[in-house]
Each structure stands twice: as C-alpha cells, then as structure tokens.
C-alpha cells in the first residue's frame, strides 16, 4: 500500500544483514579442521553458510555415502559370499562380483564397485543377508573420470575408516 | 594550448561530419553525426559558451540523435549495406544540387565579414541568459512553450490507441 510493502521488505533484508553479523558463524577461518561441525539449529535469520572445504557437517548415522565392506571380526576378511543379491538389486548395475569356493566356504574373489555410476540408493545393502556391505560416511569421491571404481580391498579399508560394525546398525535393523 | 585543443576538436568534428555523408551504413552515419554534434558542442565550450555547449549535447545528442538512430533501426531494410542503391539513377541530380549548395555556402562564408567582438565573454552568461528569458524575452519564451505543449498534446493524440 503506497510503498509500505516495499519498505517492509527493506526492513526484512536489513534485519538479515544485521543478524548475519550477530549470529551464526562469524569469523570465517576460525573453525578450520576442528573436526565436523554440528548441524545448525533451525532458524530464520543469522549466518548459515558452511565453509565447505574447510569445515564439514557431521553426517547423520544413516547417511548414505560410498558403499563399503565390513570385516568379519573372526577372519578379518569381508563377509561377502558372492551370492549376487546385491548385483541383482542394483538398479544401475554398478556392482560386479565373482566368487570362489562352494557352499558355506564360498567367498567373494573380486568385488568391483563402479563409483561413478552409483546413485546411492542403498538397495544393495537392503538385499544383503550376510552383513557384508553398508553405505559408509564418505562422500568426497570426486574424480576426473567417469569410470572410477573401487575393489574389495579399497572398500574394506573404507569400511575400517567408517567404523561401522554391523549392517543396518544406524537403521534399527540389526537382527 | 587552447589552439591545439581547437584544432583537435575541429578535426574530430570535420572527420565525423564527412563520415555522416560518406559512410555506407546508415547507422554508422548516424553515429558519426553524434560525434559531429558533440564536436560542435565542444567548440561552443571553447568559445566560452558553456551553457550552449551543454544544451547542444543534451538536446542534439541526448534526444534528437537517439530518435534518429531509433528511427533508423526500426525502419525496414535500413541495416543493409546496399541502402544507397536506391539513389543510383539520381546520383547526378544529387551531385548537382549538392554542388550548387556548396558554392552558395562557400560564397556566403567567404563574403561574410566575420566581425569579432572585442569585449571579453562576461562570466555570468547563464545568469544573463536567465534574466533575458524571464525578463525581456518572456513573451516569445512563453509562446514557444505553448507551441511545445501543443505539439506534445498532438503527439499524445497521434500515439493514442484508436
């Protein structure tokens, strides 16, 4: 009404400008590399920006990052039995598994994971009955090529780093 | 130094003026016209007629040239290089008319006495100008404004949606 609405808009942006100095992370370089940053409380004003390469959010336990293999605490090897359930469950066919051995002795010989094509849907983990794979917390997997792949050893190492003990632990599905 | 600036400015003005008639593209000619007019304005400024110079730039460059350019741009086929083709059969006539005009103008300018005023330019030209407009020449000034008003109303009437 006769310019009042425009002034009200200016007032809102001025409030935001002021609150960007008074609340939220103020000094930029202060929080470098002090470990993950907690998620901000929901708010309507104040600074929110995450200075990404220098600070990172703490991921939720359920975060679906890069697929990892979990170690069997007894053998120290992957629990994968090359049953191919994950390969069948994958919508994009990013997994290639070959196995060796028969029956209960069957183990995965190679496990190739085409990271560049993965859509992080977690259907493979849902299909796995051997507690072998889980989505880890890693998400920085940018590469310059489309065909970036991970093999079994790399996935096991990633699993160690993620510190996951059981599949579905965070998802309330451990049986 | 003033002489050097004068020579520079009049060179720019003359070159642009030649460009107005010589450039093949109409738009280029129009842009050259802009420079010629700015140059004339600068010459006024050098003569100490600052107000005239500024008004020259404001009205001729800021308004009239814009209108000319706009008219050129929105008219059909004006962008083509071969615009002057239409004039070919009449080139002789054009040359004769232009030549005659040149002779007349040259004769007048050579024959004129070009009297030089010895008194210096008064510093308060604008104030005097203002006083002249608001005092001695008030009536012509107001009549001119009425003419402008009439033309404004006429323009609005013409531009009005039927």
């Amino acid at each position: 009404m006769l310019g009042r609405g425009m002034l009200k808009g200016l007032w809102v942006t001025l409030q935001h400008t002021i609150s960007s100095f008074t609340s939220g992370p103020r000094r930029f370089p202060k929080r470098y590399l002090d470990g993950p940053v907690p998620r901000p409380e929901p708010s309507t004003q104040g600074m929110l920006t995450l200075q990404y390469p220098f600070e990172k959010y703490e991921m939720w336990p359920r975060f679906r990052g890069v697929l990892v293999h979990l170690r069997d605490p007894e053998t120290g090897q992957s629990r994968c039995t090359a049953c191919m359930a994950c390969v069948r469950a994958c919508p994009h066919g990013v997994l290639t598994v070959t196995g060796e051995g028969k029956g209960r002795e069957r183990r995965a010989k190679t496990y190739t994971y085409e990271l560049g094509r993965c859509i992080f849907c977690r259907l493979c983990v849902e299909s796995c009955r051997f507690d072998a794979i889980e989505m880890g917390q890693e998400y920085e997997f940018v590469s310059t090529t489309q065909d970036q792949t991970l093999n079994l050893e790399e996935m096991l190492a990633l699993g160690d780093r993620s510190g996951i003990k059981h599949t579905g632990e965070a998802w309330g599905q451990v049986e | 130094m003033a002489k050097a600036i004068f020579i520079l400015v009049s060179l720019v003005t003359l070159v642009s003026a030649i460009g107005v008639v010589a450039l093949p593209k109409v738009l280029h000619a129009a842009l050259a016209l802009v420079f010629a007019l700015i140059g004339v304005g600068a010459l006024y400024a050098l003569l100490g007629a600052g107000y005239l110079a500024v008004v020259q730039v404001m009205i001729y460059v800021g308004a009239i040239s814009v209108l000319i350019i706009l008219a050129i741009m929105v008219s059909q086929r004006s962008m083509e290089d071969s615009q002057l083709q239409a004039f070919v059969p009449h080139r002789a006539v054009t040359a004769v008319v232009a030549g005659l005009l040149f002779v007349v103008l040259a004769g007048v300018s050579i024959g004129a006495a070009w009297p030089v005023v010895e008194t210096a330019v008064p510093p308060d030209t604008i104030a005097r100008l203002g006083e002249a407009f608001a005092g001695r020449y008030l009536l012509p000034f107001e009549v001119a404004s009425v003419v402008l008003l009439v033309s404004l109303v006429g323009a609005v009437y013409v531009a009005r949606e039927p």
Binding site: T17, S20, M47, T49 | M1, V55, V57, G62, P123, I126
Partner: protein, 386 residues
C-alpha cells in the same frame, strides 16, 4: 578549513610551485591537468574495485551468506580475481555483429560516466573543473550513455539485445525528465548551476528541504544507471543481460566497470545535490563526501537485494504519470515558497511542509481515486486490499 581538510589542495599547490620553477606556465597547467585527469580516473575506477566487492558482500549479507571471503582478507581482492578472469577470456565477436560498432561501443560506455566526475566536488575546493554549468553538464553527459547502449545492443545482432535496446531508449529518455525537474528544483533554490555553489548553498541538506526532489532524483538516477528495480536493460530472467549479452573478455569488462562507476556516480551526485556534499562537522570534507556517497551506494545495493524488477510499461507509467507531474508541482510550490519566504531557515521549513503536504495531497488523491476504482491492481497498490 582545517589542515586535513586542505591537505590535498596544499599538496597540489606545492606541486604547482615545484613545477613552476622548471616549466613555463602552460606546461604547469598541462601537468596539473594531467594529474587531475589521473586522479579522476583513480577516483572513478577505485570505487569500481571496491564496489564489485561491496555489492557481493551486501547482497550476501542480506541473504545470510558470507560473500567472497577467500580472495584476500574478507575477500577484498576479489576484484583482481575478476579482472584476471575477464582479461584472460577469449574475445568473441559474433558473426552477425556490426564489427566496427561492436568494437567501439564498450569504450563509449565508460566515457560519459568518467566525464561526470569532473564536475563533482569531492572536498572543499577539490573539483577538477568548477564549470558554471556544472550540474547541467552532468545531466547532459548522463544522456550520452544511451548512445553507447544503443550502439552496443544494435551492433550485437541479437534479438534479446534488440529488445533491450527498445527498453533502454524508452527508459533512459523518460527518466531524464523527472531527473531534470528535480535538479531544476535544486538549481532554483541554490541559485546557480555550479556544483560547488549547490553544495555551498546547502546549510541544511536539500534532502530535508525538498524530499520529493531528492527521492525522485535518486530513483531517476537508478533508472539511468539501470539498477534494480529499473534494471530492465539487463533483465537477466527474461532477456539474459540484454545489451552486453554478446560481449566477452575486456569488452565486457568495460560494461562492468561502467556499471559500477555509474553506481558511484549516483552516490556522488545525490550527495552533491541533496546531502550537502562535502559539508559536515569535524571530519575533513572529502571524508564526508566519501561517507555520504557510500551511504547512498549502500542504499542502491540494499534495494537491489530486496525489490523485484518493474515491468517496462509500469516503469514508464511511474515516470510520466507520477514522477513528472509530482515534480512539476513540487518545482512550482518550492519556487513560490522560496520567493515568498527567502532561502533562509523559514523558507527551508516551509518548503519541507509544502513537500509533505504535497505528498499527503497526492496520497489522498490516489486513495480517493482507488476507492472508486474497480481495478483490482489499483486497489491493491493503493489501499492494500487483495
């Protein structure tokens, strides 16, 4: 006039004396003139460097972001990063372009903006050329910008640019009128066209004496500089940056510099005309000039942060149907007031009263008319009913 206030002038005089020993008089003038030119260029270009940073910062802070903060402390050298990026870009000239004009237009963009600085008093006695037609010169030169934009848009040979051109002509030509009227009001009161005289006449800043003219001038200069909410030439959501659409590299940089220099011009001229220029207590004159200019520049950026763009017909309506009549009435009333009451305190107070009265009258008129209107838009705009 304190020591600090006069410092730049003292330095200049000392330089003049120093040169006078070795050079003839015209040589001294030439060198001093050149120094002035360089100073003006610095004054015009340095704000561009600051403003590219400031605009991003202001926008970012209004949007709860940091803005540039990696290039140097607080991202201050981001303008240099920009410069490197722009200068290393390929210079593309489209095939449909009119090559000569296309090359020539960017240079034309910058010149008028730079020329305006010659008549801006940046401190006590700090003016490159105190023309007796100073402010008229600024207005006239401002009208040259449209030529540059026309040349750039037309020579690009692009349909979006063409649309931008039609908009620009309509917009720039229409907004010269209310701008001239508001300037005229100032000239009337200060009794001269010289910018220094206008500044000296402002014992009380003219923004407080005639707010209508001040706001009009500010809005009209926003339109002249193609700033939001009048940034129709750019219109990045529909005509994709219009007039500089086809430009790249250094040629684009000229538009870029011209745009930011123009923001500074808005600030400088508004300060000169309405905010008392370099006048102010305690601090030296040039500091006051800078502070006031930057305050106006902040408002320009703040508005960009908040308001959407107007439509071209509404923009013209706003100019022709509101600003022009309002300023004509204002001009007449203010002239009458100052004729009757003199230019002293009484006149200023009366002028303020008349201005407010005029605004109230216009508001009442609009409300009256809207009450009987059936147009939903009018009712919403004036009465706030939706």
């Amino acid at each position: 006039m304190g020591f600090l206030d006069a410092l730049p002038l003292t330095v200049m005089d000392w330089l003049r004396g120093l040169l006078g020993q070795g050079l003839p008089a015209w040589g001294v003038e030439l060198v001093v003139g050149l120094i002035k030119v360089v100073l003006i260029l610095v004054v015009a270009i340095l704000p561009v460097i600051v403003l590219t940073w400031l605009e991003r910062k202001v926008l970012a802070r209004g949007q709860d972001r940091f803005g540039p903060n990696l290039a140097g402390p607080y991202g201050l050298v981001v303008a240099f990063a920009d410069a490197i990026k722009i200068l290393t870009k390929e210079d593309i000239i489209p095939q449909a372009a009119d090559r000569q004009v296309f090359r020539f237009a960017p240079a034309l963009v910058l010149i008028p903006t730079l020329l305006v600085f010659t008549v801006v008093p940046m401190g006590r006695g700090m003016i490159a050329a105190d023309l007796n037609v100073g402010i008229l010169f600024a207005v006239a030169i401002g009208s040259l910008a449209v030529i540059a934009i026309i040349a750039a848009t037309w020579s690009s040979g692009n349909k979006y640019s063409l649309l931008s051109m039609f908009r620009s002509v309509a917009q720039l030509v229409s907004y010269e009128l209310p701008m001239a009227f508001s300037v005229l009001t100032v000239v009337l009161v200060s009794g001269g066209l010289s910018t220094v005289r206008i500044v000296e006449a402002q014992v009380i800043p003219f923004a407080l004496v005639m707010p209508i003219a001040a706001v009009t001038y500010f809005l009209a200069s926003l339109a002249e500089a193609n700033r939001s909410p009048f940034d129709l030439l750019l219109g990045e959501s529909e005509i994709v940056a219009g007039h500089n659409l086809e430009y790249s590299g250094m040629r684009f940089a000229m538009f870029y510099i011209g745009e930011y220099a123009h923001i500074f011009v808005i600030g400088a001229l508004t300060t000169t005309l309405f905010l008392g220029g370099y006048q102010g207590p305690i601090l030296p004159g040039y500091m006051w000039f800078l502070i006031k200019t930057m305050a106006v520049v902040y408002v320009v950026l703040w508005i960009r942060c908040t308001w959407p763009r107007m439509r071209i017909d509404q923009l013209l309506d706003f100019s022709w149907k509101l600003l022009v009549p309002l300023n004509l009435a204002n001009l007449m009333l203010v002239a009458l007031v100052f004729k009757l009451a003199g230019t002293g305190l009484l006149g200023s107070l009366l002028s303020l009263v008349v201005n407010v009265g005029l605004l109230v009258a216009v508001g009442t008129f609009l409300v009256r008319r809207a009450r009987s209107s059936t147009s939903r838009r009018t009712r919403a705009l004036v009465l706030g009913e939706v």
